[in-house]
């Protein structure tokens, strides 16, 4: 899971618990606000398995998200990832080896400055392309594993520590334009690790054809200064259950793309029918190395991969996600099997009265 780098060193559960207590204490100290603005706890909990080139691993995972308004203009939000990975021992012995990973994915404060500008400060997801900010939560993504090019433009950590301006520049019934621009300082903090960089993204959305076009840019400002460019195109025709998403990214040493098509079979009795809950998914992706300097998390050689998925949307916010992938490269072809079940939760952080 490359998006969670934030230093891959395991942190103790006690440290995470201390953070949760701190946040809870902070929220208790603040005014609860109006009833509709009660802080919420959301996220996903799941169990995933994958077999990649014959190596199997099992992974229980929870990604809790906390969002807490403080007054009418400020929102504090954070997401964490806690997971344990089990794999059969490789030294010939019986049993399993396991590793623990727990870290904050981001922790940010959002301040509404004007109707079209929001200031974000803290540790935030880098707005490059679509995967990192929009598709990476386990309760959203159609595949267990992210696209091969997802590390491009994310400055090796996926998060920035600094500030960001974002918002809707134009919101019109016929089109809308939104933007995000950030600056991140270098940080070696174990929980909030980031590189010095800046960048941003702009999106144009056309509601009638349901078409979204976006451009992203990022520049690394430490070590070898590198530029990253990205473009994405999404098309989601109305009332069809079909979605086409695609993205291209180019870095200093490699580039690549992915195209994903999925179809919720709602034409067969509606989205809540037995058949309508099925969601076949297909994703094609390729990466190309521009040189042999490997510093971006992409495969060491040119790689092609086709992912065939079949998801099932159970009632009560539960999804079964399965896929088979065939990966081709000069270092050897391989099969990848992935299966998982994810439950999405969403509830108030405490009891209160409705308006």
């Amino acid at each position: 899971m490359p998006r969670f780098r934030l230093s891959y060193l395991p942190v103790t559960l006690a440290r995470l618990a201390r953070f949760v207590l701190f946040v809870m204490a902070m929220l208790c100290a603040s005014r609860p606000g109006s009833a509709q603005d009660t802080p919420l706890i959301s996220g996903g909990v799941g169990f995933q398995t994958s077999t990649n080139g014959g190596n199997t691993k099992y992974q229980p995972i929870i990604e809790p998200l906390l969002a807490a308004p403080i007054g009418p203009r400020v929102l504090v939000e954070s997401r964490a990832a806690i997971l344990e990975t089990w794999a059969p021992r490789t030294d010939g012995g019986s049993g399993y080896d396991h590793t623990y990973f727990g870290a904050l994915t981001y922790l940010q404060g959002d301040v509404t400055l004007t109707p079209h500008v929001t200031l974000v400060g803290g540790s935030f997801l880098i707005p490059f392309g679509t995967y990192n900010e929009r598709l990476s939560p386990i309760w959203i993504s159609n595949f267990q594993s992210g696209p091969l090019i997802s590390p491009l433009g994310l400055m090796s950590t996926g998060t920035g520590v600094g500030g960001m301006l974002r918002g809707s520049a134009v919101s019109h019934p016929k089109y809308s334009i939104d933007y995000a621009a950030y600056f991140s300082a270098s940080s070696d903090n174990e929980q909030f690790n980031s590189d010095r960089s800046f960048g941003g993204r702009a999106d144009l959305y056309l509601p009638k054809p349901r078409l979204e076009l976006g451009l992203s840019y990022g520049r690394l400002l430490q070590g070898t200064h590198e530029n990253f460019y990205g473009a994405h195109l999404w098309w989601e025709p109305k009332d069809t259950g079909f979605r086409l998403r695609s993205e291209f990214a180019r870095g200093h040493h490699a580039q690549g793309y992915w195209v994903e098509a999925d179809y919720r079979m709602q034409a067969f009795g509606g989205p809540d029918s037995v058949i309508g809950r099925f969601e076949p998914v297909f994703r094609m992706q390729q990466t190309f190395r521009r040189d042999t300097i490997v510093s971006d998390g992409l495969p060491l050689v040119n790689t092609q991969r086709a992912d065939f998925g079949l998801d099932y949307n159970l009632p009560h916010n539960t999804r079964i996600i399965t896929s088979y992938s065939r990966q081709f490269s000069s270092t050897g072809d391989r099969n990848i099997w992935e299966t998982g079940i994810v439950y999405r939760f969403l509830f108030p952080a405490w009891k209160g009265r409705s308006k």
């Binding site: 559960l13 006690a14 618990a17 201390r18 949760v20 207590l21 809870m24 009833a35 509709q36 603005d37 009660t38 802080p39 919420l40 706890i41 969002a67 308004p69 929102l75 939000e77 959002d110 509404t112 109707p115 079209h116 929001t118 974000v120 929009r134 309760w139 959203i140 974002r166 918002g167 809707s168 919101s171 019934p173 809308s176 939104d178 995000a180 999106d203 509601p207 349901r210 979204e212 999404w234 989601e236 009332d239 709602q266 509606g270 989205p271 949307n313 009632p315 009560h316 916010n317 999405r344 969403l346 509830f347 108030p348 952080a349 405490w350 009891k351 209160g352 009265r353 409705s354 308006k355």
Partner: protein, 107 residues
Amino acid sequence: MNLKYLLSAVLLVVAAFASSKAAPRIRPVPQAEAQNAQNATKKQAPATQGGTHEDEGQRIFDQNCSRCHTAPDGFSSRISGTVVRHMRVRASLSQHDEQELLRFLNP
């Protein structure tokens, strides 16, 4: 590992979960229902400059929230404002869109 912190955190989360049961729940629009509701409200809801409030809220919901994820089965009305404020940042909604979406989720 200090077990008391872990236990405290677990207890807090369990308590929060237990306390959430009594709240009325919002059911934000499976697509087929949303279409029916939209057709119905075209006849009933008071018209505004660009159409009905629900039309506008439905449009904003479809164009911003549903673009990335399906709607959750339902959630407490006590957090609808927080959900919308979170979506305002994540989906870069304007203030107008935020208000229309909140009105749509709390008709």
